[in-house]
């Protein structure tokens, strides 16, 4: 067999090209990867480190990928996601700034409510997906992808400067915190032991600042990338290892890495930017129309609105769909064919589902083939296999709602 060039490549994580300035400064140290505050902690716990989006992160620990994946769905797992970009936007005009860059109704967010949104460009393409939260502390809290760090920061900083030059009250600060994701049915119960606030009052997509296992100034957001109930905890660097250790004390908790993170999000039908959505996909093509704010669709005041909004009523050439098949796994770049044998699209992400014991994937097909239940073919290992368009999530989600 061929030795995998890098596990990150095998995972299907596409590494975006570095901007020229960053490439030049790294030219003398090509292999320098950024490290999170938990780097030594990962090594001490048997983490197998790989390069991902310019960071050194654990792909897995001592447990197998499948065990780690299943443990998350049955108990809970702790992921280090500190590589993601965390920013705060301050000022009276912070919502105006955010809305000038994203497609969502940010003004309508209730205090401490967050939402998934998209940065778009003038051509209607998605620049990144992100979570923006309207905190009750006077700032918007934004979490976006590590692979788009420089692009997103430049985008937001340029807009800050532009608005400031026009007299707006707005500023931006990068949050230099660790970010820990605790995901699974036991996550809330595990975290409850370390916080005074009643987590039963923190539903999906809400956020609060609290002391976590004695570390003050932590932001806890009820969200994640697995489809399970869980939280992402933004922890000041000095307290990161302590919080991770405290969580790991609980026998329900195991560490999990990038491998499980990818198979979990795929089962949950969640996109990976760079694979399933990119600058050449519009939100409508990406089956993310729900992110387009009701008001914004009318006011058309977000980048690419003139391309995107008409797509809501008219036709899109292609749509992102879920696919399931048996036999050989579908992977990124596998061809999708109609039953007559014509190539009609491509798979953008795929893997064997540890929960379903079938193969799941996401890909793009022309709209007329996008209805769930449509029979298609996927070319894997030079053979054509039957595949069926499936609703996502493939595995039911368990987001926590207030009862």
């Amino acid at each position: 067999m061929q030795r995998p060039a890098s596990l990150a490549t095998l995972l299907g994580f596409r590494r975006p090209a570095l901007p020229a300035s960053l490439s030049r400064s790294l030219s003398c140290a090509q292999d320098v990867l950024r490290r999170t505050p938990l780097y030594d902690f990962h090594l001490a716990h048997g983490g197998r480190m790989v390069a991902f989006a310019g960071w050194s992160l654990p792909v897995q620990y001592r447990d197998s990928h499948v065990d780690s994946h299943l443990h998350t769905r049955r108990h809970c797992s702790l992921f280090d996601v500190s590589h993601m970009l965390q920013t705060k936007i301050f000022g009276c005009d912070r919502v105006k700034l955010m809305e000038s860059l994203v497609v969502g109704d940010i003004a309508e967010l209730k205090p401490n409510q967050g939402t998934l949104s998209l940065f778009t460009n003038e051509a209607g393409g998605i620049l990144d997906d992100l979570i923006v939260t309207n905190t009750s502390e006077g700032y918007l809290y934004v979490v976006s992808n590590a692979g788009c760090w420089d692009k997103d920061l430049a985008l937001m900083q340029d807009k800050v400067r532009e608005l400031q030059s026009r007299g707006s009250d707005v500023s931006l600060e990068v949050v230099d915190n660790a970010l820990l994701a605790l995901q699974g049915p036991a996550a809330a119960q595990v975290l409850q032991a370390g916080v005074a606030e009643d987590l039963k009052k923190l539903p999906f997509m809400t956020s609060a600042v609290m002391e976590v296992f004695g570390v003050s100034g932590c932001r806890v957001t009820r969200c994640g990338y697995t489809g399970e109930d869980g939280v992402e905890i933004s922890v000041p660097v000095a307290g990161a290892v302590h919080v991770a250790m405290a969580l790991l004390q609980n026998p329900e908790v195991k560490l999990a890495g990038l491998a499980a993170r990818d198979s979990l999000r795929l089962e949950a039908g969640l996109c990976l930017y760079g694979n399933d959505i990119d600058e050449h996909t519009t939100p409508v093509e990406g089956s993310l129309s729900w992110t387009l704010g009701k008001r914004r669709r009318v006011t058309m005041d977000f980048p690419g609105a003139t391309v995107i909004v008409p797509q809501l009523k008219g036709k899109v050439e292609r749509r992102r769909v879920g696919l399931m098949c048996e036999g050989a796994p579908m992977r990124a770049h596998s061809l999708i064919l109609c039953t007559e044998g014509t190539v009609i699209g491509t798979v953008t992400s795929g893997c064997p589902s540890p929960c379903l014991k079938k193969n799941v994937a996401m890909g793009y097909v022309p709209s007329k083939y996008s209805r769930p239940g449509t029979q298609l073919l996927v070319e894997v290992r030079r053979k054509q296999q039957m595949a069926i368009v499936s609703k996502m999530p493939f595995v039911p989600t368990n987001y926590y709602a207030l009862k």
Partner: protein, 190 residues
């Protein structure tokens, strides 16, 4: 890496040799002690006397003839009676992860050295398999159907992939010994 240990009780060819000391047919083990690659049919006939010492040296001899060789693509092969057993190395199974899907050739498939003969897939990775030698596939490991994870649990024993004839035994010399393979793995890990 697992070391090849001589088997405590010799099996197969030695048992045959016991019978053949009476029948006078070719004792495989004896001729195999000369070179591992001489095919059964061309061995000279030799009288064989069984005694405890011989049995012990036979088992060591068998371990030698079954000594694992490795390809640069991380397949291993052992040969016995002209039949090669092929699998993937521990380094390869660890890098791949839990095998959830496999594709192996049909019995009778003729393979040239380095021909792609199948694939193994885990949740996160897929990898093709390349034949370490030329020959014809005689058997595939049916146990994998129930438990593809055998490749991870026992990559050198129960997790074997295919058996094949060895049409050109000199190709074995082109493969790496276990020692050489260990060095090779070390060099690529750096």
């Amino acid at each position: 890496m697992r070391f090849i240990r001589p088997r405590p009780t010799p099996v197969g060819p030695v048992a045959q040799a016991r019978r053949s000391s009476v029948a006078g047919s070719v004792p495989v083990v004896a001729c195999s002690l000369h070179t591992a690659s001489v095919p059964f049919a061309s061995c000279p006939i030799r009288r064989w006397q069984l005694w405890a010492g011989a049995v012990r040296s036979l088992s060591t001899g068998m371990a030698l003839l079954k000594a694992r060789k490795f390809s640069g693509k991380h397949e291993w092969i052992t040969t016995e009676n002209g039949i090669g057993t092929v699998g993937i190395s521990n380094f390869a199974q660890e890098a791949l992860g839990d095998v959830v899907y496999y594709s192996l050739p049909e019995v009778g498939t003729k393979l040239e050295k380095q021909d792609e003969f199948g694939a193994l897939e885990s949740v996160k990775a897929a990898s093709e398999l390349y034949s370490p030698l030329s020959g014809e596939v005689t058997e595939i490991n049916e146990a994998l159907a129930e438990n593809p994870g055998l490749v991870n649990q026992s990559c050198y024993e129960d997790g074997w992939l295919i058996k094949m004839t060895v049409s050109d035994p000199s190709e074995l010399d082109e493969l790496m010994s276990e020692e050489a393979y260990k060095k090779y793995v070390k060099s690529i890990e750096e």
